[in-house]
Amino acid sequence: MRAAFSEVLVAAAKANPNVLLLTGDHGYALFDAFRKECPEQYVNCGIAEQNMVGVAAGLAKGGFLPIVYGLSAFVPMRVLEQIKIDVCYESLKVIFIGDGAGVVYSHLGSSHQCVEDIAALRAIPNLAIYSPADRHELTYTMQTAMASSQASYLRMGKADLGDVHSTMPDSDMQTILPILVRDNAKNLILATGSMVSTALKLASQRHDVDVYSVPCIKPMAKNHIYELCKNRDNILSLEEHSIYGGLGSCISEIIAGDIICNFKKIGINDKFSKYCGDYHYLMDYHELSYQKIETLLNNEFNAQHDSTIDIVRA
């Protein structure tokens, strides 16, 4: 996915000299190609993220298209207010890239992990939020962000989990993308980012579940989500993000009080990463490993739920 990101950045900068890549002294190796191909459009703003976002706003006012790159723990978390006031309030077009979203930087601890970015940004108007699952979705969402007239945040999570699509999605701004769809499956998994890969693997072991990827968190295709959720027995949302304010919350807002089913949000369950370890260790610690979700999924899907009441559980 990072290679795709580099490619799409270089292509965008070559096509438009007003594209500027701003970084807060991050992006080692990732921007080698960009610096080689478009050195004049690469701006290292130093370890000064607040100023970087203000500068991006000033550049956008002057007709540039700034792409602001940082670790998601800092862009958007450290600069949330600058994003809100300097950029979004003034309806400026700036593209924010939050790299390493989720618990990718597992060994570095909670300071460099970010499972609250979607929740923090969702409430800010004039900002689209993308969460691509693989290199195809990355290209797709970046191109959508570039073509949009408003600001965007692109959440780049675990990048080496392989593709979930065989080709770039061929859809006209469609924001819910089918991954694995069966006839009349009564169960549904809606996943985003790194967890789409896990969802696909889980669904491959069963015959009664559909999997869709949600690369666009905002604006969310509410009607499409609603239609997908109708007449299901069980719905799971899967995300490497807090269960509060992320994809699961978005879906629950759409279906709550209307669609009767068993709905479970699976994500980071409101806790920090207490221990050090590799990515797989931490995902297991947060009960997001394949094995733990498989157990949960089997319990949920095989249980007999009382379908006469609306159960929306966190």
Partner: protein
């Protein structure tokens, strides 16, 4: 109508607004009146008199709570109407208590302190990249430079050699809850900006000829250095009972204080 940006008239407009809207931040506006007047009268270039002209000079009011001083100038520019001034703070009106870039002639939404300078730096950097001769003037409060982002912006301006940027520090010595010495000691502000790579001048922020000379001098120097003017000012300047009396950060005018302030301006 000739635009003279007379300081006394601007202060009257501020008083009218503050009284009509029952608003605060009067002292914060009065300390920057002469700075605003000199900038609008002698320096800010607006081709075709268009506030949004792409080749205009930029004036960023980073201390957005002083915005009534700018409204008074924008009124004289003709970009705000007398009704805008008269109806200040009425429901459904456009002018807020802090600078808002949706207002014609206001470049940056500020008031949340420490934002405006960075945006101004970005505008100056954009002008430098486009190789235009646009200037960017950014007015920051001395209290405002408590914010770390101000110093991030100063580093950036110096590193990228933004000699089209003039930062004006309104050093009135007060912030919301007391004097700057009491709240968070700033030390020598000029030395700080100089240490950050700025070419700096300290002057009397109410002496229009000093301000004018300094701006002429600084903007003519294309030496790869951003510029800073440390303007020693008086919070509440122009009204004896407001000067250096920090209650006028938050106090609203009564009929009596409005009349007394207006009478004092008339006498001058």
């Amino acid at each position: 109508m000739t635009q003279v940006f007379d300081a006394k008239s601007l202060r009257k407009t501020v008083l009218d607004m503050a009284f009509s809207g029952a608003t605060v931040h009067i002292g914060c506006a009065f300390s920057i009146i002469e700075i605003m007047a000199v900038l609008y009268r002698n320096h800010l270039r607006f081709p075709d008199d268009a506030h949004a002209h792409p080749n205009r000079d930029y004036l960023v009011l980073s201390k957005g709570h002083g915005v009534m001083a700018q409204y008074a100038c924008l009124h004289e520019k003709g970009w705000l109407s007398s009704a805008d001034i008269k109806n200040y703070f009425n429901n459904g009106t456009q002018l807020k208590g802090l600078a808002d870039a949706h207002v014609p002639g206001v470049e940056v939404t500020s008031g949340s302190l420490g934002h405006g300078l960075s945006v101004g730096v970005g505008m100056a950097y954009g002008a430098q990249r486009r190789k235009t001769n646009q200037m960017c003037y950014a007015i920051v409060g001395d209290g405002e430079i408590n914010e770390g982002s101000i110093w991030e912006a100063a580093l950036f301006a110096s590193h990228f050699k933004l000699d089209n940027l003039i930062v004006v520090v309104d050093e009135n010595g007060f912030q919301a809850m007391g004097s700057t010495d009491e709240v968070l000691k700033l030390g020598n502000i000029m030395e700080k900006f100089t240490a950050f790579g700025f070419e700096s001048i300290q002057l009397d922020g109410h002496d229009e000829s000093q301000i004018d000379d300094a701006i002429h001098q600084l903007k003519s120097k294309k030496n790869g250095k951003p510029k800073a003017i440390i303007a020693k000012t008086i919070k509440g300047k122009g009204i004896s009972f407001m000067e250096n009396n920090n209650i006028w950060h938050y106090t609203r005018l009564s009929s009596e204080t409005y009349a007394a302030a207006m009478a004092e301006l008339e006498e001058k």
